[in-house]
Symmetry: C2
Subunit: 181 residues, 2 copies
């Protein structure tokens, strides 16, 4: 009987250690972005999707984009909370937008003149990390921008918070949660 | 001591019952799509994202889109498998594409002339369900299309497989897994 209890205690203890060591939404990339000290969060590509969008800046950017949230951020969004709780992380992946000749050929039958655009190569990935104490001077958010897993410089990171200021009444987050059909 | 063991056994048993009752990627919508008998899978909006794309058909469609996979489908995609195993489900959400005046105002400072487009309202959601025996006549895939949670008619569903035929060498799936930056 005592052996069974010891085994059960050992299993629970092991589970606790594994849970502690596994970064659910923690940060475990290699390089640290300046100012805010943010690394690329482990597994962010598998987070739940918040929304998608498109950005077009003639001659500068032609992108398809998607935003993702860790579980804390997604919970807040689903509950319609205006202020994200500490621990929230939002990731934004930007890809080049490229025409899909293959899709266009298929679509030409049922939809003459159809234009399909798909993602090309990754441009960059950006993160917003909520920590109301650590990042008190910037609305409670830390910002980070990576290209090819390398963080941008300090000058770039100085532009993040001022640019997000207009979304102050939405806790500095521009993206709305995309509705479910 | 015996009480502690009984409590632990009860907790483990309860967890097993809960796990059994929770549909991870099962189907539990209300209405059934014709031909293939597919319901809207529970929780598909929270599945991992495969990719995003854009469709433009002058006067007919102006959409931003995202595809999602259940765990079986995502595993196959990450492993680069050509053939999806039975149990794979792929969901495709289509939204209207609308300009974001708010984003454009903000972007006008750093990026004059920038055009931001975001998702508007949901148009429809489509599913591909892999069951190589049940759907042997259609490449192993069942297809479903829903608008406002209502399935399209039989005529619409008869168009699914012929349209996916050109992607036969990719197991009838057009979407490629979007690369991680």
């Amino acid at each position: 009987m005592r052996q069974i209890i010891l085994v059960l205690v050992a299993v629970v203890a092991l589970a606790a250690v594994v849970a502690y060591m596994t970064p659910a939404s923690g940060q475990a990339g290699e390089e640290v972005a300046p100012i805010y000290g943010i690394k690329i969060p482990v597994g962010y590509r598998d987070w739940k999707m918040i929304a998608v969008d498109q950005l077009l800046v003639a001659g500068k950017a032609d992108q398809l984009r998607a935003q993702f949230g860790n579980d804390i951020a997604i919970k807040a969004l689903k509950e319609g909370k205006v202020t994200f709780p500490d621990g929230s992380i939002i990731a934004a992946i930007h890809w080049t937008r490229v025409p899909s000749e293959g899709n266009n050929k298929v679509l030409a039958g049922p939809f003459p003149g159809a234009q399909s655009f798909v993602v090309g190569s990754p441009v960059n990935v950006q993160f917003m990390v909520k920590d109301s104490k650590k990042y008190a001077a910037t609305g409670g958010w830390g910002f980070a921008d990576f290209k090819n897993s390398k963080p941008g410089n300090e000058e770039l990171h100085n532009t993040c918070f001022p640019c997000h200021q207009p979304a102050k009444d939405r806790d500095y987050v521009f993206t709305h949660y995309a509705p479910t059909p």
